[in-house]
């Protein structure tokens, strides 16, 4: 390509966008199949130099797959990839790297027990006859870190640093390889609001440098904030590319799911009843650190209200939920469920007493991935007389029940009750858990990040289920990192910081900014928050 054409294209950006010379990367008519499914079906995506190009789509729409094709992790069945108008073959990450393409993966690809420096150089190690030469690598990393404001300690182990810091390492990995085309796959899912802002800033910096960015996210706010254009995928097909200037969040979500989505949950005002959950002075030790993970927490949840524990990840929410649900022991304090002291009860007993738990990590706790869907549907109840007789499982009853839940909650899977849960998509796995936990008719529903990583369609559905549950008179304790969700869903918000509850808020009278200050520890209410 020549410079003249570039300048021309800049002037007539919209009109001449079909000119090949316009784009650093073009993915044309890409088709990628997995056994039983077309993950990408004739998708075309064109990336301009110096733009932030968002990629939007429901769970399983094929975003990660498309990016993996670009990064050389998968080979497409059909279609071609062009760089600066020339067709290129990307057979593996090395090829991608040689073309200046780098990727921050949805799940970080960092070796936990390696140092930051080792992780950055892995794959492109400076060496003399195979022997590592780390000194020069260190110099380059420090320079990059300086230039882009990506603070890292090159000698720290990955396992010792925060998620935000890990992401910086991932970004440095791309920069270290002098990549010009940067792919970010759901980079913000794991970040705190402040970190997200930082990342947006960094992206803008890259843009200024002339780097091109592909940015996958489910959060429309972020797209509106930082992207120039957005390509929308639905069920493996390309729904089109739009300019962010000319579109709205509503339009984007309609393109994505094919119908109108309510981004705002509409719910009646809460009608709190009796105290269902009463947490008194709960403290929990931390196995790793000397500092207590949870410090002297007290609060109550009433029937028919949604109370939300908000906070930045790692401020004791996870530990507290473990203590509350019995997965871990609490060191001191007392937990009452509907007037009954359950502090020392087993998990099974808590469940019998009316506690339901939508766990934070659905793969670790929520599901036995290699069990069939029906077996997972009775995971909390297989022992009830309804489903067993004299120790023998009544498989007909289990099937009946599972079929009922599947129909009622629209859990989609290949073989219905017999599907191995591992083969189901994340959204449907989550739906199955929610069906199971809600159908228990609990007095208290503990929902931890119930919509993590899900698309707006699924989020909308789950939010509605939770509100419906509240309206039936269930006490709901929601734990979420997502401020939108917190503001949208809760009737009361408790902010946790460093293991303590530092404030209590009414979502109608507070703002995201105010919550952010408390979450960051910049402010703290008096002890009256108890």
């Amino acid at each position: 390509m020549n410079t003249k054409e570039v300048s021309v294209s800049k002037r007539h950006e919209r009109r001449v966008s079909r000119l090949a010379e316009d784009f650093v990367i073009e993915m044309l008519h890409i088709t990628k199949e997995f056994p039983g499914i077309k993950a990408n079906d004739d998708i075309t995506l064109q990336l301009r130099k110096g733009e932030v190009h968002a990629l939007l789509g429901e769970n399983g729409a094929g975003k990660s797959t498309l990016m993996s094709v670009l990064f050389g992790l998968y080979q497409p069945e059909a279609g071609q990839i062009r760089k600066n108008g020339k067709e290129v073959a990307i057979r593996n990450p090395n090829d991608a790297n040689a073309l200046g393409i780098g990727m921050v993966h949805q799940h970080f690809k960092l070796v936990e027990c390696f140092s930051v420096l080792d992780n950055i150089i892995l794959g492109v190690e400076p060496n003399k006859m195979g022997f590592l030469q780390k000194a020069e690598a260190r110099k380059k990393v420090m320079a990059l870190s300086e230039k882009y404001g990506l603070r890292v300690d090159p000698d720290a182990l990955i396992s010792d640093i925060s998620v935000g810091m890990q992401q910086r390492v991932e970004i440095l990995k791309m920069l270290y390889r002098d990549n010009e085309i940067l792919i970010f796959d759901e980079p913000t899912a794991v970040l705190t609001p402040q970190e997200i802002d930082e990342l947006m800033e960094i992206m803008r910096g890259f843009k200024k440098e002339g780097k091109s960015i592909l940015f996958i996210t489910h959060k429309l706010n972020e797209i509106m904030a930082v992207a120039d254009r957005c390509t929308v995928l639905r069920k493996g097909k390309c729904m089109g590319t739009v300019d962010i200037k000319d579109t709205t969040k509503e339009e984007l979500s309609r393109m994505m799911v094919g119908r109108d989505v309510q981004l705002q949950v509409d719910k009646k005002p809460a009608d709190p009843g009796r105290v269902v959950l009463d947490v008194k002075n709960v403290t929990m030790h931390n196995a790793q650190h000397k500092k207590d993970a949870v410090r002297d927490i007290s609060f109550q949840v009433h029937a028919g209200e949604i109370v939300c524990l908000a906070g930045i990840e790692g401020n004791g929410q996870t530990e507290f939920v473990y203590g509350l649900t019995g997965l871990e022991k609490i060191s001191s304090g007392k937990i009452m469920l509907d007037g009954k002291d359950i502090t020392n009860e087993t998990i099974r007993q808590r469940s019998k007493d009316g506690m339901s738990h939508i766990p934070e990590d659905r793969h670790k706790h929520g599901l036995v991935l290699d069990y069939s869907l029906e077996n997972n549907m009775v995971l909390q109840r297989y022992w009830q007389p309804e489903f067993q007789k004299g120790g023998f499982i009544r498989s007909d009853k289990v099937r009946e029940y599972s079929d009922k839940l599947i129909a009622q909650y629209d859990v989609r899977s290949g073989q219905g009750s017999l599907t191995t849960v591992r083969s189901m998509s994340g959204g449907n796995q989550q739906k199955a858990i929610i069906a199971r936990e809600i159908d228990k008719d609990p007095k208290l529903l503990v929902a931890v990040q119930p919509t993590r990583g899900l698309d707006v369609g699924a989020i909308e559905y789950i939010h509605r289920q939770i509100v419906a549950e509240r309206d039936k008179g269930t006490a709901v304790l929601l734990v979420s990192l997502e401020l939108d969700e917190v503001m949208n869903l809760s009737d009361r918000i408790l902010v946790m910081y460093e293991g303590e509850v530092v404030g209590e808020f009414d979502p109608k009278t507070t703002t995201v900014q105010e919550l952010g200050l408390y979450m960051a520890g910049a402010r703290k209410q008096g002890k009256e928050s108890k």
Binding site: L73, K109, L110, V111, N119, I121, G123, G130, F131, L132
Partner: protein, 305 residues
Amino acid sequence: MLLLIKYTLLYGIVLMLVALGGMFSEHSGIINIALEGIMVIGGVAGVLTLTMLPAGMPVFLVVLISVLVAALAGMVYSLLLAFASINLKADQTIGGTALNLLATAIAVVIAKYFSDSGSAKLNYTNKPFLFSIGGLELSIFVPLGIILLIISYVVLYKTRFGLRLRACGEHPQAADSVGINVYKMRYAGVVISGALGAIGGMAYIVPPVQTWNFEVGVAGAGFLAMAVMIFGQWKPFNIFGAAMFFAVFKSLANIADSTFLAQLHWSSNIYNMMPFVASMIILAFTSKNSMAPKAEGIPYDKGSR
């Protein structure tokens, strides 16, 4: 005392070599439970070579050739494990167990085929493998083992290969995403373990006697080496220490009646039991912060995330 040192070294080096083999394999992400079998294969290959080499050959060549042949045999045999667990993604422990069962059968069939009398016994000379320093007789495997130990350390921590190998055992997806060929690295890890395991097998059989009945196999030494590897927390010098610790027990069991320990009148069963009991206790104490490669035992599938 000299004797204790001698046999501790002799046996310890065997355990160390085999454990180092296991270490390489596990750092690449493959659990090599077939070490016992690999030792047997290495032993039978090395011994057969010894019996076949012409009498007048220089000592140096005899050692070199037989050790190389043993190592080669081990590498070839370990390819079976590599193929099953890397390409076919078979369960590694199961594949390894099958190879253990197979190895003794192969060794016996081969030994019976080559021995004059049709028994599984082969006669050979171990002279080329022995030398002494000031009354302390050592086998060639002692210096060889020490050299291999140092090389192992350097390779693992100071080279590009080592860094990549360890990455594959810890997080193969990460390695793959930066363009490292995980399959190739895992093959390398397993094949190195084949070579070291086989040399270990030869070191187990050759120095102490000049006749070996392959029906006996290597009597659990390969399994013990796995314990050594765990005890040594997958680190070369720790493995060396662990191997020596085990070897001291073993040697004591055998030469106890020539030492003050004879007064205790313990049966050899008790001595034999001790290293296992000791390592169980140590495992229990160190289990909380195990350094095991995180991805070991999990077949790597390019497609999976």
